[in-house]
C-alpha cells in the first residue's frame, strides 16, 4: 500500500495536478521560460567565446556581474543611464583588450584545461577587482522598467519579464545579423571553423579575440542588467551563472540556437520539477535538477542538441 501511494505521488499526482489546473500550469511554464531566457543570455557569452577561440571561459559569470556592477556603480555616481551604458561598454572592451594582451596571448597552444584554469583565475581577478572598486554589498538596479503584473486570458504576466524576454530576443537577432552579414562576423565564423585557415587568409586572430571577448562582455552586460534588475547586483550571484553550464551541455558548446533552446528547456524543466516534485523530497531541487537533467541527456546525445558531431581521429 505504501509503495502504491509513493508511486502515485511520484508518477501520477503531479500530472493530474498539471491537467486539472491548466492556468497555473501555464503560468509555471511561462515563469520557467523567462528564467530560461536569463540562463540563455549567460550561456550565450560562453558559446561565443568557445566557438571563436576554443576557450571554455569560466569567467563569463564574473563578467556578467562585473558589467552589471560597473553600470550600477557609475549610475550611483550620477551618470545618466545612457552615459553609464556607454562607459560600461568601453570598460568591457578594455577588459577584453587586457585579457587578450596579458593572458591569452601567452597561453596560445596550451592545453584546454590550462586555459580553463586560467579563466577560473580570471574569475577571481575580476571578482576581487570589481569588489575592490564597487564594494561587496547588494546594489539595487533600477532601470525604470515597470514590474507590474497584468492578466491576459486568465494568465498572470509580469511586464518586466516580458521586457527581459523581448530584449533577449532582440539581442539574439542582432547577433545573428552581425554574424551573418558583417565583415567582422564572417571573420569570426572563419576563426571558429579553423584558426589556421583563418590566419592563412589574413584574418588577424588577436583582434578577433578582442572583438569576441568584447561581444561576450556586451552579452554579459545585457544578462547582468536583467539579473540585476530582478535580484540586485552582487558577486555572490556568480554561482547562479554556473547554471549556464548545464544549459551549454544541453544545447551543445558550439551552437548559438542551442544555448537559447537549452536555456529555455532548463528553465522550464527546473521550474516544473521544483513545483510538482520538489515538495516530495524537501524542496530546493532547483540547485541540482538542471545538472542531472543535462547528465541524463548527455548519456543519449553526447554532443548536445545542436552541437557539432564529435569526430575522433586516431
Amino acid at each position: 500500500m505504501e509503495i502504491i501511494n509513493f508511486l502515485n505521488l511520484v508518477f501520477l499526482a503531479p500530472f493530474v495536478e498539471m491537467v486539472s489546473y491548466p492556468i497555473f500550469f501555464s503560468e509555471v511554464i511561462i515563469s520557467g521560460l523567462l528564467t530560461g531566457v536569463m540562463y540563455s543570455l549567460v550561456a550565450l557569452g560562453f558559446v561565443l567565446i568557445f566557438k571563436a577561440s576554443g576557450v571554455f571561459n569560466f569567467a563569463q559569470g564574473a563578467m556578467v556581474l562585473f558589467a552589471a556592477l560597473t553600470l550600477v556603480g557609475l549610475m550611483e555616481h550620477g551618470f545618466p543611464i545612457w552615459a553609464a551604458l556607454i562607459s560600461t561598454i568601453i570598460v568591457l572592451i578594455a577588459l577584453a583588450f587586457v585579457v587578450e594582451r596579458f593572458m591569452l596571448r601567452y597561453l596560445i597552444n596550451q592545453e584546454d584545461i590550462i586555459l580553463f584554469m586560467a579563466t577560473i583565475g580570471l574569475t577571481f581577478l575580476i571578482q576581487g577587482f570589481g569588489e575592490t572598486i564597487w564594494g561587496s554589498n547588494v546594489k539595487p538596479l533600477d532601470l525604470g522598467i515597470p514590474s507590474e503584473s497584468f492578466e491576459v486570458g486568465g494568465l498572470l504576466l509580469n511586464e518586466f519579464d516580458l521586457f527581459a524576454a523581448g530584449s533577449g530576443a532582440i539581442l539574439v537577432a542582432v547577433l545573428a545579423v552581425f554574424f551573418h552579414y558583417t565583415r567582422i562576423g564572417r571573420a569570426l565564423r572563419a576563426v571558429a571553423d579553423d584558426h589556421q585557415a583563418a590566419m592563412a587568409v589574413g584574418i588577424p586572430l588577436k583582434n578577433i579575440w578582442i572583438i569576441v571577448w568584447s561581444v561576450a562582455g556586451f552579452v554579459g552586460l545585457v544578462a547582468g542588467i536583467m539579473w540585476g534588475a530582478k535580484s540586485g547586483v552582487q558577486f555572490s550571484l556568480s554561482l547562479i551563472a554556473l547554471k549556464a553550464l548545464p544549459v551549454l551541455i544541453l544545447g551543445g558548446f558550439t551552437s548559438v540556437p542551442g544555448a537559447i533552446v537549452g536555456g529555455l528547456i532548463i528553465g522550464v524543466g527546473e521550474k516544473i520539477a521544483e513545483i510538482y516534485w520538489g515538495p516530495l523530497v524537501g524542496g530546493a531541487i532547483e540547485n541540482w535538477f538542471a545538472y542531472v537533467l543535462a547528465l541524463a541527456f548527455l548519456l543519449f546525445r553526447p554532443q548536445g542538441l545542436f552541437g557539432e558531431r564529435i569526430i575522433e581521429r586516431v
Partner: protein, 358 residues
C-alpha cells in the same frame, strides 16, 4: 657537486625501480619525514599546526585523489567537494552508529563508500569527456551536497544540521573531538597521508597507473592495445573518490571538528583543482606542492599587510586577497603551465650539473 648519480650503481631490478633511485633523494625524504614526525609536533605552535600543517596535509590527500583522476586518467572532474562530503558524513554515521569500531577503520570504510558513490557518478565518463564531463560531474557536487543538507538521517536528525566529531580514542589517546590536542591530530593525519601517498605513488607506477596514462593520452589507441577503457576509467573514478572521501573525513574529524554542508561547496572543488594545476598534473609530488601553495598563499596574503605595517579595512583586504589569488594563478599558468612539480624537476636538473654546467 653534491647531487649527482655518479658512482651509484644499481645491481638489481629492485634498486633500479626504487621510488627514489638516488641516495641523496632518499636521505632528503628521510630527513623531511623525521622533521615532519618529530620536530614539527614538538616545536610548532597550536596555530601553526591547526591553521597550516593539518589543512595542508588534508588537502594534499584530496589533491592526490583528484590528481589520480585528472592528471593520470585524464578525466576532468569538478565533483571533489561532493565526494569529500560523502566521506565526512559517512564517517559520522558509522562512528555514531558503531562507536566501538576503531576510528581508522571507520575512515577507511567511509572512503570505500565514497568510492562506490564515485563509481556511480563516473559512469557518464564512458560516453563523454573533456568539459562535457566536467560539467556532468558538477551534478554530483550539487546533488550530494543537497542530499546531505536535506536528508536529516545523515546528520542524525539534530536540529542544527551540523556534524560534530565525537571523541574517539586510538591506542588509548583521544584523537578526535574537542579534547584532542592539535599535536595528536597532526600526527594521525600525517601518518595516514604518508601511507596513502605511498600507495598512490605505487599505483601510478604499476600496471593500473600505466593504463590510466594510456587512456589519458589517447583512449582509442589504449583500447586497441588491449586496455579496457570501461574498467580503467571507473577504477580511476572510484580510487580518486576514495582519496577524496578520506580527505573529507579527516577534514571534519581531525581538523574542523564540526562542519555543515557549506564546508563542501563548489569552491572546495575548485580549490582542489587549483592545487593540482598549480602543483602539476600527473605528479604526486605536485599534489603536495600545489596544496602547500594554495593553503599558504591566503595565509601569507592575510598576514602580509601587518608585516609591512599597513592597515586597511578588513573587506578591502579580503577583496585584494581574492584579486591577488586570481592573479597568482594566471601568472603561474603563464610562467609554468606544467606546475610547480616541473619547476622542481628543472631545479634538480640544474643542480645535477652545478657548479660545472658543461
Amino acid at each position: 657537486m653534491f647531487y649527482r648519480e655518479t658512482g651509484q650503481f644499481k645491481s638489481s631490478y629492485k634498486a633500479d625501480q626504487a621510488i627514489f633511485p638516488l641516495s641523496q633523494d632518499r636521505w632528503f625524504i628521510l630527513f623531511l619525514i623525521i622533521i615532519a614526525f618529530l620536530v614539527i609536533p614538538l616545536t610548532a605552535s597550536e596555530y601553526l599546526l591547526q591553521a597550516v600543517m593539518i589543512p595542508l596535509l588534508i588537502f594534499s590527500l584530496a589533491s592526490i585523489g583528484l590528481n589520480l583522476l585528472v592528471g593520470y586518467a585524464g578525466q576532468l572532474s569538478l565533483g571533489t567537494g561532493g565526494f569529500m562530503a560523502v566521506g565526512a558524513y559517512m564517517t559520522y554515521k558509522l562512528t555514531t552508529a558503531f562507536p566501538e569500531i576503531n576510528i581508522i577503520i571507520v575512515f577507511i570504510l567511509a572512503g570505500l563508500i565514497s568510492a562506490c558513490v564515485g563509481l556511480l557518478f563516473g559512469i557518464p565518463s564512458l560516453r563523454i569527456k573533456g568539459f562535457y564531463l566536467a560539467v556532468a560531474t558538477l551534478a554530483s557536487q550539487f546533488f550530494l551536497v543537497w542530499m546531505f543538507n536535506k536528508v536529516a538521517w545523515f546528520y542524525n536528525y539534530n536540529s542544527s544540521g551540523t556534524i560534530t566529531a565525537p571523541p574517539r580514542e586510538l591506542f588509548g589517546i583521544t584523537v578526535t573531538g574537542p579534547t584532542a590536542t592539535a599535536e595528536t591530530r597532526y600526527i594521525v593525519v600525517l601518518a595516514i597521508v604518508c601511507v596513502f601517498a605511498l600507495i598512490a605513488k605505487n599505483l601510478v607506477r604499476g600496471r593500473l597507473g600505466r593504463s590510466w596514462m594510456a587512456v589519458r593520452d589517447m583512449d582509442i589507441a589504449a583500447e586497441i592495445i588491449g586496455i579496457r577503457p570501461f574498467q580503467t576509467k571507473l577504477i580511476a573514478f572510484s580510487i580518486s573518490s576514495f582519496y577524496c572521501g578520506l580527505a573529507g573525513a579527516l577534514m571534519v574529524f581531525l581538523w574542523l571538528g564540526s562542519a555543515e554542508t557549506e564546508a563542501f561547496s563548489i569552491n572546495e572543488s575548485f580549490y582542489v583543482l587549483f592545487m593540482i594545476i598549480i602543483g602539476g598534473l600527473g605528479s604526486i609530488l605536485g599534489s603536495f606542492l600545489g596544496a602547500t601553495f594554495i593553503v599558504c598563499v591566503p595565509i601569507l596574503l592575510t598576514n602580509a599587510p601587518q608585516l609591512f605595517g599597513l592597515s586597511m579595512p578588513i573587506d578591502l583586504q579580503k577583496h585584494i586577497e581574492i584579486m591577488l589569488f586570481g592573479f597568482l594563478i594566471v601568472f603561474f599558468l603563464i610562467v609554468e603551465p606544467h606546475g610547480l612539480a616541473r619547476l622542481w624537476q628543472i631545479a634538480k636538473e640544474k643542480l645535477r650539473l652545478w657548479p660545472f654546467p658543461y
